[in-house]
């Protein structure tokens, strides 16, 4: 078609471009490594996964930089300038040599990454030596919208311990057996990195060795309905000694102490805050309920400003503890979490029930 | 290069301002190719339900057969009926190629009758099976696979019925019987599919 243009490539261009590319890659990698990407590392597994991420940064940045450099250089050097409107580029149709190169190099990178990732996968899933005796088993059950935890054989007389909070000792491999009784959920403690879906009908799971004391959020990561965003609980990593004490009390003593550990107010209970925001472990009532006094406007559950008029404090308390017992007309059962008996202390429960009674007259 | 019109079976030539004749760039004509591709799609639809079958019967070890015994012998006879309808379909087509109008009519009518017999037997089997799709997952799979196939038989029958009407109205000639050949391919596919359904559900 048009006439061909002289190649505008200058002799110094290529070295300059390589330099720019190198600098950009180094800066990109440095930034990538300096950013504080992750939440705290709370398990042996976390270490391996974070390392994989940083390796990926190192590999990916240069690939992206190469592509950007070539685009940028082409725009800079080869763009059509005034007076070049009718011109064409040289009719280069291909180069087998180049094509082999850019097939082979990504293939090699991919092969290396996959092998490395496979190794990491085996590491993070490997059972500890003599797992049968040293490993602790925890059965995690997801329901809409709460988790419950069962420790088989840990209670007095070999009975299981039931708990609404997760307690695990530091430094010991824990095998989680994850189940669901309604829809899909996903058991995830970001600090531990591992996650798996809770699937009705089968038991899934993973193992984790907590390496850091403290409390961490337990998050439901699979869409499970209205309350998915609120399906949060707390994992407590205790020293082996404290854990043994918790166990010796059948899981009760520490459970009562848990809200304190999570930083909830122990002295004065503020029922309005409890209603609107929860106590750190309990789901906020206001997420689902409208209550004029608390200024919440949730529409998933009944409007408590109106519906509680005929009820007594005791009835209200019963409704909170066992929501399934009486299903309010026009609403589905099984939506309001049945675990407030565990996530709220008895004092908080009373405060809440009284508060609701007062504010629904 | 052989030219063909873009239009459909039964396009009559006449004077008008219309599109230029498209170039025919493959040996296969559009209708047949379209039908073959459609059949690939249909195969995948069945494939998805066979996936369900696999997960429920093999992975989950759900009870099989669903409910009581499946009437294998009745179904086997029924298989014979459906397969013979493929033969009569072929007969009708060969008759069309030879310009044998009586053979076309008889072939089409007998194909439709055989197909309808198959369908009625199948419905009769549902009624007497003694298990409903709501009872368990195996039954759901059984009913949906046979039901999906039954729906295809029904669609096939409707297609054949329209072909049949046209046969009786004097359409199709040795040179021009596309409108008959293409539904025929579909019918053979429906028959072939049954062999797969029958083998997996009744025999294995």
């Amino acid at each position: 078609m048009g006439e061909e243009r002289q190649s505008p490539v200058k002799r110094r261009d290529i070295p300059v471009m390589i330099t720019i590319g190198l600098v950009a890659s180094i800066v990109g990698i440095a930034v990538g490594l300096l950013i504080d990407w992750f939440p705290v590392q709370g398990s042996k597994q976390a270490d391996k996964i974070d390392e994989l991420w940083y390796v990926l940064i190192v590999v990916s940045v240069p690939i992206f930089v190469i592509v950007c450099c070539i685009v940028g250089y082409s725009v800079f050097r080869f763009r059509q300038r005034p007076g070049e409107a009718g011109m064409d580029g040289p009719p280069i149709h291909g180069s087998t040599k180049l094509e082999v190169v850019w097939t082979a190099i990504p293939a090699i990178i991919i092969a290396a990454l996959v092998l490395y990732a496979w190794g990491v996968l085996r590491d993070i899933e490997r059972a500890p030596a003599n797992a049968a005796t040293t490993e602790m088993k925890v059965i995690v059950t997801g329901i809409q919208f709460a988790w419950s935890f069962e420790y088989p054989g840990l209670g007095p007389g070999g009975k299981p311990i039931q708990s609404a909070q997760l307690f695990v000792p530091k430094g010991r491999s824990v095998k989680f057996l994850v189940r669901s009784t309604d829809v899909l959920h996903d058991f995830w403690v970001p600090a531990w990195r591992m996650k798996v879906d809770a699937v009705p009908g089968i038991t899934t799971g993973y193992r984790v060795t907590p390496t850091r004391l403290g409390t961490y959020p337990v998050v439901c990561a699979e869409l499970c309905g209205l309350g998915h965003a609120f399906m949060r609980q707390t994992a407590h990593v205790l020293t082996p000694a404290v854990f043994a004490a918790w166990r010796a009390h059948g899981g009760r003593a520490a459970a009562a102490a848990a809200p304190a550990a999570a930083g909830a107010p122990t002295a004065a209970i503020d029922p309005q805050k409890l209603f609107a925001q929860g106590n750190g472990q309990s789901t906020a009532c206001g997420a689902c309920h409208t209550l004029a006094a608390a200024g919440t406007t949730g529409k998933i559950g009944p409007n408590l400003t109106n519906t509680l008029k005929p009820q007594t404090v005791a009835m209200i308390k019963a409704s909170i503890l066992k929501p399934q017992a009486i299903i309010t007309k026009g609403y589905a059962g099984g939506i309001m979490p049945p675990n407030f008996g565990q996530t709220l202390s008895p004092a908080e429960l009373d405060a809440l029930a009284n508060y609701l009674y007062k504010n629904s007259r | 290069m052989e030219a063909a019109t873009i239009a459909h079976a039964g396009h009559d030539d006449h004077e008008h301002h219309g599109p230029p004749e498209a170039n025919q760039s493959s040996r296969m004509d559009a209708q047949t190719l379209g039908m073959l591709l459609f059949i690939i799609s249909e195969l995948m639809l069945f494939g998805a339900f066979f996936t369900a079958y696999f997960f429920i019967r093999i992975v989950n070890h759900d009870v099989w057969p669903p409910g009581a015994k499946l009437p294998v012998d009745v179904a086997a006879v029924n298989t014979g009926i459906l397969l013979s309808s493929s033969l009569t379909m072929h007969w009708a087509l060969v008759s069309a190629q030879r310009g044998n109008r009586w053979g076309m009519k008889a072939g089409m009518v007998s194909t439709i009758l055989l197909g309808a017999t198959f369908l009625i037997t199948q419905i009769n089997e549902y009624v007497h099976l003694g298990v409903a799709p709501q009872d368990n997952a195996s039954a759901s799979v059984f009913y949906s696979l046979t039901g999906l196939h039954g729906a295809h038989v029904l669609i096939g029958l409707i297609m054949l019925l329209t072909v049949c009407i046209r046969v009786f109205r004097g359409h199709f000639s040795p040179e021009k019987h596309h409108g008959m050949e293409v539904p025929g391919i579909y019918w053979h596919f429906v028959d072939g599919m049954w062999i797969l359904v029958f083998t997996t559900l009744y025999i294995l």
Binding site: F38, S95 | A137
Partner: protein, 632 residues
């Protein structure tokens, strides 16, 4: 009035829809009476049946089936009078029209409509997410918003807009007067607005719209209120439309190429749509089946996903992703085709490594079927499936890399015309690389275990779908705008559109990588305080992104109505669609052109791709042909 109600068209369509409602009512009540269900009149059951029946009645009323009914009744065939072909007034866009160019416009306008609706939902979502806690919508509405957002943008924007662009240019490119099955083509189009109406209509359903994500995982979707059925059934119509169009493309490409157009002389857009159509024909039945199963479970009490009755919950995900992974390539390969066209023309160079470009498309098609379970690394499926799927998934980077590098080599030493289509093409090359790289990260199982279901996935989605697909769509729309409308778009507004989009796109979606790795889960209306700052920034940037789309809209509308007249070949392109007038004549060509060379011979002196005006004499390459610049 009665005449209008009898003649095919919108009046009759709405009338038939009412008949459809009555039919559904009758069917439901009769069936319930027969089975002694109580109460006999059950509004959910009627609604459910109407969702299936009314669209079909509507299509019947519109006249989509008239010809086939006519044929089936056995009357002698009447001559084709082409009365349903072409458009001379705007009403011609609102009836069954068999002209591929009209259908192309119908597709593009409809899908952009849904793009704006879906985008508006994104704006609402971002408004809600601007701060932790509850802003404007409750969690039920929020779940509904992102579900409808994604479903509209995937099933009613990206997939059909590509079908629309290809509908318009593909027959022209291969020298065909129309598609192989023009009536089927019209039917495919008209199923789309119906699917869209169903999905949007779900907001009116009791219990709210469907709210289980665009993935609609069982068992959540089985237990959900009636709104879910709008998705389940809407997808069936969108899927049927997709399959029919794909079939049409395949048959057209195989049987209707101009003389001399061998497979390796086809423009890469044609190759791309060939590959995409293969994917659609093979994979789409799987999503149809998955939604049939949900429907059967929901409406008739089947037990596919009832684990207490032997059902298998994970089976849904296998069947769903066996379609929906290939679907992400259905949403990308046509874009690859567009970019090849734009880059070759705008860089004035042949596509580098044409054959490898074609083969890599086919390689992606093949590999695309072997990777579905990478969406299920944390689903609790058998753990041994993960490593093979990780390997196949990562391998897809190789053929995709071949494409990226070949495009880069096409740029090299070209004469780059930096106008709007080119800017979007270059934006695509860089942004898609980024999205693809985050895809490769996700393919590595241990990392995916951590970031799955977080905003890192949301970032990946939008980098490949927005930075990938949407950028290619913008490039393609600007590129073929002169051909389709006969007008030039406003270049200055186009550049403003590109730069605002490019900047706000990155400001919106790049930080999502960060909050994802920090642990913010996706699909939540509320989040922890620690993510507040980033989310506010993202929300503000996303409003900028929304405004940039308005620039595009304004440019399109004003240029279409009053832009400068376009010549037939403003870009000096070689491919056939540019050799006819803008917009093309009703029947595309007076005589089918003859193809004598490759489609991208820029820089080759005297190169010709096709000879217009009949193939009486076939010039050899190198002999200049007068006919190529018809109209200039």
């Amino acid at each position: 009035m009665t005449v209008k109600l009898r003649a095919p068209g919108l009046y009759r369509a709405f009338f038939y829809t009412l008949v459809g409602v009555a039919f559904s009512f009758g069917l439901s009540v009769t069936a319930r009476l027969l089975y002694h269900f109580d109460p006999a009149i059950d509004s959910e059951s009627i609604l459910q049946i109407s969702m299936l029946a009314c669209p079909l009645f509507f299509l019947g009323g519109l006249g989509a089936f008239d010809y086939w009914f006519y044929w089936a009744s056995g009357r002698p065939t009447r001559a084709e009078d082409h009365s349903s072909h072409g458009a001379s007034k705007w009403q011609d866009y609102f009836r069954i029209n068999t002209d591929h160019k009209v259908i192309g416009i119908q597709y593009i306008v409809t899908s952009f409509f849904f793009m704006f609706v879906g985008g508006l939902m994104a704006m609402l979502m971002r408004a809600e997410l601007a701060a932790p806690g509850r802003q404007f919508v409750d969690s039920n509405t929020y779940n509904g918003l992102f579900s409808v957002h994604a479903s509209l943008l995937i099933f009613l924007f990206i997939i059909p807009v590509f079908a629309g662009i290809a509908n318009y240019v593909l027959p022209l490119m291969i020298g065909a007067p129309d598609m192989a099955f023009p009536r089927l083509n019209a039917l495919s189009f008209w199923m789309l607005p119906l699917a869209g109406a169903l999905m949007l209509g779900s907001f009116l359903a009791p219990g709210g719209s469907f709210a289980s994500g665009w993935t609609a995982y069982a068992p959540l979707s089985v237990d959900a209120p009636i709104g879910q059925s709008f998705f389940t059934i809407g997808v069936q119509f969108a899927g049927a439309s997709s399959i029919a169009t794909a079939l049409n493309f395949l048959v057209t490409i195989i049987t209707m190429r101009a003389p001399g157009m061998s497979f390796f002389r086809m423009p890469l857009l044609v190759w791309a749509n060939f590959s995409t159509s293969l994917l659609v024909v093979i994979a789409t039945p799987f999503i149809a089946a998955s939604q049939f199963m949900v429907l059967l479970d929901r409406a008739l009490g089947f037990n596919f996903f009832d684990w207490n009755q032997g059902g298998n919950v994970l089976m849904y995900q296998h069947v769903f992703w066996f379609y929906s992974h290939p679907a992400v390539y259905i949403m990308m390969l046509p874009g690859f085709g567009i970019i090849s066209e734009v880059l070759a023309v705008k860089a004035r160079k042949p596509i580098f490594g044409y054959r490898m470009m074609a083969f890599s498309l086919l390689a992606i098609v093949l590999l695309g079927f072997t990777v579905w379970a990478h969406h299920m690394f944390v689903s609790g499926m058998q753990s041994w499936i993960r490593v093979p799927m990780m390997i196949t998934t990562a391998i897809i980077a190789v053929p995709t890399g071949i494409k990226i590098f070949s495009w880069l080599a096409t740029l090299w030493k070209g004469v780059l015309k930096m106008d709007t289509p080119m800017l979007f093409a270059l934006g695509f090359v860089t942004m898609f690389t980024l999205g693809g790289i985050s895809g490769v990260m996700l393919a590595l199982v241990p990392l995916d275990i951590y970031v799955s279901d977080t905003y890192f996935i949301v970032a990946h989605i939008h980098y490949v779908l927005f930075g990938g697909s949407v950028f290619t769509i913008y490039a393609g729309i600007y590129f073929w705008f002169p051909k389709m409308t006969g007008r030039m778009y406003d270049e200055r507004l186009g550049k403003i559109h590109f730069w605002t989009t490019f900047v706000f796109f990155n400001l919106t979606f790049a930080p999502m990588h960060v909050i994802g790795v920090q642990g913010m889960p996706r699909r939540v209306a509320d989040y922890a305080q620690q993510f507040a700052t980033w989310n506010l920034l993202i929300s503000l940037a996303s409003f900028g992104l929304g405004l940039s789309a308005l620039v595009f809209l304004y440019n399109m509308v004003t240029s279409w109505r009053g832009g400068a007249r376009a010549v037939s070949n403003p870009w000096r392109s070689l491919t056939l669609e540019w050799q006819v007038s803008s917009p093309p004549p009703v029947f595309n060509f007076d005589v089918i052109p003859t193809v004598v060379g490759g489609p991208y011979e820029y820089g080759v002196p005297g190169a010709v791709h096709g000879v217009m005006g009949g193939g009486a004499e076939v010039p050899r390459p190198g002999v200049a042909a007068v006919a190529t610049t018809a109209g200039e």
